[in-house]
């Protein structure tokens, strides 16, 4: 029975897609299937505000009433077990079946597991609200938290743990934190902020052994140092949830492979958000997979349009932010496309690095500062990147030259 539009995964992307289908006037059945027990919710607060709140709550993308109003059927917690493309059916874990006319994979990603023996109850990951609640219970003055991995989620969690008074040690195998996608100059500011707030950051620190007895964890580093913790939170990246798509015979290439319209090779099936890889027009069609909130949001809405036959390509410039202590970092574009950078200071405590390709094109901009100090200029930089603008380095470096003027020019 059923039919119509079926969405697997009720996260940021799936939730936005369901709402967008209705906003676009689609009148047939919309079914959103998610394996979590909650309403579709925003994940970014989990490591930030929700983690330090007295009573953490889900920040829902759509409330029960919204979903009812829009006649969106939200099945939860329900896991999709398989997809039968020939019969156009999804099979649920309880054995029931659901027909689809168009299907969207919005299955997201899952924390990469630390491939080591010795992990137990006190070694955890952070992806879901339930994960966040479980971690929150351990954050209090003097509790000892080890964060394995100096990436965004680990560092945000470290900052929240410090705010709640816990002792925090971040263990990073690379020579510096935020190796992936963040320029060294900005990572250094983040590193200094953590130290100023009393978190220990250990870089170039491989882990030789973990011993988790269910009450506490002991982490032995390659250089022999030993770190004792009440809880170890592991944040070493994420992997796209592709198993279901792969079993259905869809192509996987660092994510469910889709074209610029978010189509898989099956004309009835789309994929969007953290789970998919897609060609990014602003960088000559280079295939990328993003783990970013705005991307999930925009691709959810775009997938809805294209499920209804609009055939519009992804055109957005990647955009990402992270909050730690009073600092906000924002990054537009992909800085690994660049071979030089130009710095613009914004007041005393904030700056932006503009990243230029060999031919002078602006390909990315990374900024850091208190609160939203860099936001406006990062947003303008994003528009300049979308235009493929080539700008005089001196103009980019000078705070007196307004980016809005460069955009108009």
């Amino acid at each position: 029975m059923n039919g119509g539009m079926v969405i697997i995964g009720a996260g940021e992307c799936g939730g936005r897609a369901a709402l967008a289908l209705r906003d676009l006037g689609y009148a047939g059945p919309v079914t959103l299937i998610g394996d979590e027990p909650h309403l579709p919710y925003e994940r970014p607060p989990l490591s930030k505000d929700a983690m330090v709140a007295d009573a953490p709550a889900v920040k829902a993308i759509a409330g029960e009433a919204d979903l009812a109003d829009k006649a969106i059927t939200h099945l939860r917690p329900v896991t999709v077990a398989s997809v039968d493309r020939a019969a156009k059916l999804v099979k649920l874990a309880d054995g029931s079946e659901l027909a689809y006319e168009k299907l969207l994979f919005a299955t997201g990603s899952t924390p990469r597991k630390l491939p080591m023996p010795g992990l137990g109850r006190r070694c955890v990951y952070l992806r879901t609200f339930d994960d966040a609640l479980a971690i929150r219970r351990h954050l209090r003055p003097q509790s000892r938290i080890a964060v394995v991995g100096g990436g965004f989620i680990g560092l945000e969690l470290a900052a929240s743990a410090r705010r709640l008074g816990a002792d925090v040690a971040v263990i990073e195998a690379q020579p510096r934190i935020l190796m992936r996608g963040v320029p060294a100059e900005i990572a250094a500011v983040v590193h200094a902020a953590h130290e100023a707030h009393g978190a220990k950051i250990l870089c170039g620190a491989g882990i030789a052994a973990i011993d988790d007895d269910g009450q506490k964890v002991q982490l032995t580093l390659a250089d022999g140092r030993v770190i004792d913790a009440d809880l170890a939170v592991i944040g070493i990246g994420a992997e796209p949830n592709t198993r279901l798509a792969e079993a259905a015979g869809l192509r996987i290439e660092n994510g469910i492979a889709v074209d610029a319209m978010l189509h898989t090779a099956d004309p009835a099936i789309f994929a969007a958000g953290d789970c998919c890889s897609f060609p990014l027009a602003v960088y000559g069609g280079r295939r990328v997979r993003l783990e970013a909130w705005r991307n999930a949001q925009e691709q959810g809405a775009l997938a809805a349009r294209n499920m209804l036959g609009h055939e519009e390509p992804v055109s957005a410039v990647p955009w990402f932010w992270s909050d730690q202590y009073e600092l906000t970092m924002q990054i537009a574009g992909l800085s690994d496309e660049a071979n030089s950078s130009i710095r613009r200071d914004i007041g005393e405590n904030a700056f932006i690095l503009f990243h230029l390709a060999g031919d002078g094109r602006l390909v990315a901009a990374s900024g850091i500062g208190p609160d939203t100090a860099v936001a406006r200029d990062i947003r303008l930089a994003e528009m300049l990147i979308a235009k493929g603008a080539r700008l005089a380095p001196a103009a980019l470096a000078s705070p007196e030259v307004k980016l809005k003027r460069l955009l108009a020019g």
């Binding site: 993308i61 909130w293 955009w319 939203t372 936001a375 406006r376 303008l380």
Partner: protein, 104 residues
């Protein structure tokens, strides 16, 4: 009870820009549109209570600096994810080079 209060000088806001104005424990955002009209809304984004004055004004739209939520600052209308609750707007007049807003 409503009263007109002086928010700023007309020249304090650039064209197609926004500034923050605080009054009696409340924060407002004062806008000057590209066609040189003035508008006022609540100063905080309805998504996560961030000051909109740090955001970008383009035509009729204010974009929140935090997660790029958008509002029409003339009507207060939320223009899509992640914002879904409209912004409150306030009447504005310009007199003697001053921008006045009506509150309460």
């Amino acid at each position: 009870m409503s009263e007109w209060i002086e928010a700023c000088g007309a020249d304090d806001v650039d064209e197609e820009d926004v500034i923050r104005f605080d009054h009696a424990g409340h924060t407002f955002a004062i806008y000057r549109s590209p066609d040189d009209e003035y508008f006022a809304t609540d100063g905080l984004c309805t998504h996560e209570q961030v000051h909109l004055s740090g955001g970008l004004v383009i035509d009729d739209i204010i974009e929140c600096p935090k997660h790029n939520g958008r509002f029409n600052y003339k009507t207060g209308e939320a223009k899509g994810a992640p914002v879904c609750v409209n912004l409150k707007t306030y009447p504005v007049k310009v007199e003697g080079g001053k921008v006045l807003i009506q509150v309460g």
